[in-house]
Symmetry: C2
Subunit: 145 residues, 2 copies
DNA sequence: CCTATAATGATAATGGTTATCGTTATTGAA
DNA sequence: TTCAATAACGATAACCATTATCATTATAGG
């Protein structure tokens, strides 16, 4: 983890009187190393017995409350988490309908600009004030073809 | 329910040797009357005691398996269902982060064309074969401002 | 009418997630 | 360096949306 990211998270937690402890750090580092959002169980597999599942769940809840993590819902009955966009940048997701994998995808500035135009136009018609958007693409990933 | 829609669903179910029974019809009609996807409990509130919750759950599973309904996941731990796009047309969703409501939103053909361009460009880079896409806009709905 | 199969409804079981509670660690003040 | 006050932890129980079970009922074809 870069010193800058570390201090961003440490300072954000401190705003709520919370500490960036080893368990929380391990969760963040596993997510940072992943190419897509991870569930509590997937994190548990990676982190092993050093971090009990109950602590993983609590860390995910606390880090999400502090806006350090964002929850992603693509599989029913299962929540996956990732670093929030203010920490790792705006991106979208490719969701494989075959194997269930979720892959991060970055969109070029010009394409992102087009997306934002559509979002603004659509939202204004409905008197809706958009705070964020997500383009989710379902289909078959490279492995599942 | 229009006779055309009714026969489309009836014929689709018949392909799997299934019938379009009263309980399933009531679920479909409630979803048709809604301006957004509904959960099993929300359907139960609307349908009352005439359709037991266990039957609602089973109808949702069967209709989804038959591609008549599509599941929508925006609230964690809660699945909402809507008529599939081949029956009611392609559209997107406005998700209110305040009250949790999900509202259908239709996008103009020109905007939809732009979306498709972005989807195709992004997917091809990742060797991903897109089957569908969804633009989900989070923010505050008209009621929550 | 009869039989095979689909559908139903009440209920039990499942599983991801959350709450509880006693223990331990950390912080900051005395 | 004590000594509270509070945060964090870990094991476990509880919760709740969803799914499976199973006995009963309805329906379609022969
Ligand atoms: Mn992501
Ligand atoms: Mn919809
Ligand atoms: Zn795949
Ligand atoms: Zn709202």
């Amino acid at each position: 983890m870069t010193p800058n990211l570390d201090s961003q998270i440490t300072e954000r937690l401190a705003l709520d009187g919370l500490r960036f402890t080893r368990g929380r750090r391990e969760v963040v580092e596993a997510l940072l190393a992943s190419d897509g959002p991870m569930s509590a169980n997937e994190l548990s597999d990676v982190l092993g017995d050093g971090v009990p599942l109950s602590s993983i769940y609590r860390s995910l809840a606390i880090l999400t409350d502090a806006h350090i993590l964002t929850v992603h819902l693509a599989t029913k009955g299962l929540a996956r988490y990732e670093l929030s966009e203010w920490l790792v940048g705006h991106h979208h997701h490719l969701v494989c309908t075959e194997c269930g994998s979720v892959e991060d995808i970055h969109v070029s500035a010009s394409h992102e600009e087009r997306l934002r135009e559509v979002v603004d136009a659509v939202a204004s018609v409905a008197s809706f004030i958009p705070s964020s958007h997500a383009l989710e693409i379902d289909g078959r990933c490279a492995q599942c073809q």
